[in-house]
């Protein structure tokens, strides 16, 4: 009987499964380990890129119910649980900047890692973090299931502030 050691053994087994996959190269396909980590970018620089007409794609890493309640205009909804296996949304290929986010970028960062692992280029997370950071700058939020769109001119004005 395992009795006292059940949990300890389970943790060891879990770690061993991970380690074994790492040893066999499975990790390269299954996890973002040993891959470059996504970088960070100030939200002001994202807005500058938008104003210059660069193709910026926001990726909302939250659940669809959260997305409907409010998201960055134009954002694609790709929940973290789907980021590792779902077909990549076509706009991600060839984008000048791909910006995954969630509320505080915990899930956003994990989606960013998954996208980097899957070969998406120019992936960055925002500073200040996530939708909270975006809102703290007075930037607009779209509601409902449709992505909506950003008006770069309006954003530039908003960024300069009152």
């Amino acid at each position: 009987m395992l009795r006292q050691g059940t949990l300890a053994l389970a943790i060891v087994a879990g770690t061993a499964a991970g380690g074994a996959a790492l040893e066999t190269g499975e990790a390269d396909r299954a996890s973002p380990s040993a891959r470059p980590a996504p970088g960070r970018i100030e939200t002001a620089k994202v807005l500058e890129a938008l104003a210059r007409g660069r193709r910026v794609v926001f990726v909302d890493a939250r659940e669809p119910a959260e997305y409907r309640e409010g998201h960055i205009p134009g954002a694609i909804n790709l929940p973290l649980r789907r980021a590792h296996a779902a077909p990549l949304p076509p706009p991600l290929r060839g984008a000048d900047l791909v910006v995954p986010y969630c509320l505080k970028d915990f899930r956003g960062y994990e989606v960013a890692k998954a996208l980097v692992r899957r070969g998406v280029a120019n992936v960055r997370v925002m500073q200040p973090s996530g939708l909270k950071g975006w809102r703290s700058l007075g930037l607009p939020v779209a509601r409902g299931p449709a992505p909506g769109s950003l008006a770069p001119a309006g954003l530039a004005q908003r960024r300069e502030g009152p």
């Binding site: 949990l7 991970g18 309640e69 970028d105 973090s129």
Partner: protein, 217 residues
């Protein structure tokens, strides 16, 4: 113990180990090398967030094992499960520690990310989907702590109140399960997703059977 019963016991042991290892494996699949979270360029609080998720995932499986083994008490499968799990009280304390650790690690992660102590995740809030689901998880954590405390009290002072409060455990499991399904990522990632659904179905069957048996007297 015959060879056949020994084999059955070993199968239950292996099932318990697999049930506890699968969520950690699912978390590893989602997040990758745990050592990467110690890197200097990692976002503040990200590793703490992942640790919080790990605590939550182990918690839900351990809570399921506890509630199901209690529901099956006195039956051959219940005895096999109890033998594999070890002392119910000790596991209850571990469940309580995880129920405390999961939200506290999350608060620590949010605080590290924000650069200041942020306690708002510990406050009930029903303004939006995410915070409503956080509040549900918080309710589950409180119910688990109450049920665990009542379980220990019941052992020394078997009052009616302690017995009733300890029976909050299956309701706490239901709330924790829903919280994990609504805003968890690993809970909806195969193969843990299938186990996660199985946890809910089996707990429902065991407790419906238990309830029907107690109504019949």
């Amino acid at each position: 113990m015959t060879g056949r019963t020994r084999l059955a016991a070993a199968a239950v042991d292996l099932g318990v180990v697999a049930a506890l290892a699968l969520p950690l494996w699912a978390l590893w699949r989602q997040t990758g090398d745990p050592l990467a979270y110690l890197a200097a360029d990692m976002l503040p609080g990200q590793g703490t967030y992942v640790a919080s998720k790990g605590a939550g995932l182990v918690l839900i499986v351990l809570l399921w094992l506890q509630t199901v083994s209690a529901g099956l008490r006195g039956t051959p499968p219940g005895r096999a499960l109890a033998a594999a799990l070890g002392p119910h009280d000790r596991n209850g304390l571990l469940v309580a520690a995880l129920a405390l650790g999961h939200p506290l690690l999350f608060v620590a992660a949010v605080s590290l990310r924000s650069g200041e102590l942020v306690l708002t995740p510990l406050l009930p809030r029903l303004t939006d989907y995410y915070h409503a689901m956080l509040t549900l998880g918080l309710t589950a954590a409180v119910a688990i702590l109450v049920a665990a405390g009542a379980g220990l009290r019941r052992r020394r002072h078997p009052t009616r109140l302690a017995v009733v409060l300890h029976r909050l455990a299956p309701a706490a499991f239901a709330a924790a399960w829903l919280h994990g399904w609504a805003i968890g990522s690993e809970t909806r990632t195969p193969p843990f997703r299938e186990l996660y659904v199985l946890l809910a179905l089996s707990a429902a069957v065991v407790w419906a059977w238990r309830l029907a048996r107690s109504i019949r007297g």
